[in-house]
Amino acid sequence: MKYLGILKDSLREALDTKVFYFMLALSSLLILVVASLSFRPVSVEEEARVLTGTVNWGSSFMPPGQRVTWEIRDFTQTNEDAPPWERNYGFTLVVQLSADRSQGGANHPYGDARFIRDAFRQSFFFLDNVKVEEQKDSTPRELRYRFSSQGAKVSTIREWPHEATVLFLVPLKIFHSPLAGQVFFIEDFLVNTAGAAVALLMSTVITAFFIPNMLRKGTVDLLLAKPIHRTSLLIWKYIGGLLFMFLNVVFVVVGIWLVLGWRSNLWGTGFLWTIPILTFQFALFYAVSTLFGVWTRSPIVAILMASAFWLLLFVAGLGYRWIDTSRRGLKDVQGMEAFAEEAEKQGKSTAPEQTKLPDWAYRTADAVHFVLPRVKDMDSLTSRLITADLLPPDNPLRKQAEKQYTSFSWTESIAVTAVYIVVLLGLACWRFAVEDY
């Protein structure tokens, strides 16, 4: 009964702060914005017209002699009753140059054959057997390319490009991407990365006042005169802070999950793991805040030390990832594939030995990584859970994510972080137990 009393007291303290309501409003706003989203599968013809529209818009900024106009003609598709990924597509791209090709028109950035092929292959990455061939009826001022595809690399609606509409009426016409990718962006970037950072920071600020407030002269006397052990008092006060964070995360994550599931019809549960993982991460920072709160009785010092610790782990995590990447070579790193491909075209090797650092650098990085809490690793592991949940096993994005995070382990990350939490809390309890108030 007394422990429930302490938890209730912590919640009451948190609810009394204005920052809490700001945080609640921010969370509600995010949920509402996500609830206002709708997703619509786009057709290949639409996608082709978005591409031509983008090029024509970009071309309008070129000098008059270099301008081009792209146009889609003779669009065809087979099996119109089948899902879009089971159809074959074809259309003609007509590129009108402002100067003859023989007079340098081929140097137009948007009139270059290689550029056109790359642009179409990239835009229609979800289609299979894509061919872009120049036709014989091309003239010096008007180039004609025949686009054709057979089948698709994707096999579910979630992998097919979609157009999102925000706030019920604003379509994001140029941000077409697979539905799962958009959901992944919201869950992983908006919530698990940016949202989590804001939530951690604000919760650190709000809860940093709990322990110093409890230890104020005149307040602590009243509590210590009650029949409760000091260690229990501190631990339950700490749990009260965690509970506050947990309820916040539950509100945001479950809220986003529900509205996103409703809007996208993707109900993967991997995203829900964000709740315990984020709470666990906060448990570490709050343990730092608690230790310094007990030691100095100053909320400012508690906030600064928790934030500094967070920054240290963030930098250490990024640094380790960078060093770990250099060990594996560029090709295996998400976002670096194109760079590696380009380097290889230029005859440069991207094999591990080319990017390798001295051995002592790896040994130091591994040692630092081993002894420090693995907050950043847990972020990556959560991202992998979300990816695995949204995308089928043979999806390239999922394969890439799995390849990238093979060096991280849940057991190690949680165990090392848990040891830190226990040690920090142990020190705080010892200090609280021996101090005269």
């Binding site: 009393g5 009394d16 005169a225």
Partner: protein, 315 residues
């Protein structure tokens, strides 16, 4: 049985000795007042008895058991000096929180909270946030929380601080009622007049040492000093009074008459009546607790200038 007992209690903070071997006993049902200047060690003593501060050496017992343990704290109520309640609470929710910490069952807690807030005159404001309370109201709330779980011993550190005269009287009445019910009260206060009104026994602590202890009636008794007053226009025959063996001096409209050892005031009364004078005032002059306190502190600290004494000497 002694409810509070200390033997040679010592507390040091580095080189500073806050308590220098304090020994005292407080019996069940007593109201005991601990007096002393700021920094004399009063609060330290109470905090050791409650386990808030740890003793350096000596012994401290509460209800016959080592002081400060969890089971003993369940039987004790405490109102600290300069207490600060968390202002996000209402009076009700604060007492509910403390009631939970004291393991008071739910139904009893609800009943006791309303009862205690009614007792200190805060029932009408029980759902108001504490930050809206005046200092006096917070003090009343402090009394309520100290009494919530019907403790056997209550430590009150400056309980009437910031309370208006009516409130003070109410608090005194509450203390008398608690004493009547057998509760032991340990009172730290600077308001010597109040201590005198309510306490059975007092002790004076000076720089960590116990310099006086005893029943108020005994400590403040003035042997053989009376104030005598006659009807308007009448004059006491001082020469005849002196011949009876009394020492006499004028004190404003009255006469201060001092008796020799073993002497009785009756002879003076007979003289007045025999002269046909009308006696209007006759009272034994007692030393106040304040006088006793000042005298004790001065004796313990001879030669030290105190602003109060300086100004008195100058005047």
């Amino acid at each position: 049985m002694a409810v509070i007992e200390t033997h040679d209690l010592v507390k040091t903070y580095g080189a500073i000795e806050a308590l220098k071997g304090v020994s005292l006993q407080v019996q069940k049902g007593e109201i005991f007042g601990l007096l002393g200047q700021n920094g004399a060690g009063k609060t330290t003593l109470v905090k050791i008895l409650l386990g808030i501060t740890r003793k350096t050496s000596g012994e401290a017992l509460l209800l016959g058991k080592p002081a400060g343990t969890v089971p003993i704290r369940r039987r004790v109520g405490y109102l600290p000096e300069d207490h600060r309640f968390p202002e996000y609470h209402t009076a009700y929710s604060l007492l509910d929180f403390y009631g939970r910490l004291l393991s008071v069952p739910h139904a009893e807690r609800r009943r006791r909270i309303e009862e205690m807030l009614g007792l200190v005159g805060l029932k009408g404001r029980m759902h108001y946030k504490i930050r809206t309370f005046s200092k006096g109201m917070k003090q009343r709330l402090g009394i309520a929380q100290a009494l919530l779980h019907q403790p056997e011993v209550i430590f009150l550190d400056e309980p009437t601080d910031g309370v208006d005269p009516i409130g003070r009287r109410q608090i005194r009445e509450i203390m008398q009622q608690l004493k009547h019910e057998g509760t032991t009260i340990f009172l730290n206060s600077h308001l010597l007049g109040e201590v005198e009104l309510i306490c059975d026994r007092v002790a004076i602590l000076q720089k960590g040492e116990m310099i006086r202890e005893g029943e108020i009636a005994t400590l403040t008794r003035q042997r053989g000093l009376y104030l005598v007053g006659l009807a308007p226009g009448q004059v006491l025959p001082v020469d005849e009074v002196a011949r009876l063996g009394f020492q006499i001096r004028k004190a404003a409209d009255l006469w201060e008459v001092e008796l020799a050892d073993g002497q009785c005031i009756d002879a003076l009364v007979d003289l007045v009546r025999g002269r046909g004078l009308s006696l209007r005032h006759l009272a034994e002059k007692r030393e106040s607790l304040e006088d006793l306190f000042l005298k004790s502190v001065e004796a313990a600290e001879p030669g030290v200038d105190h602003p109060g004494r300086k100004s008195r000497a100058a005047s």
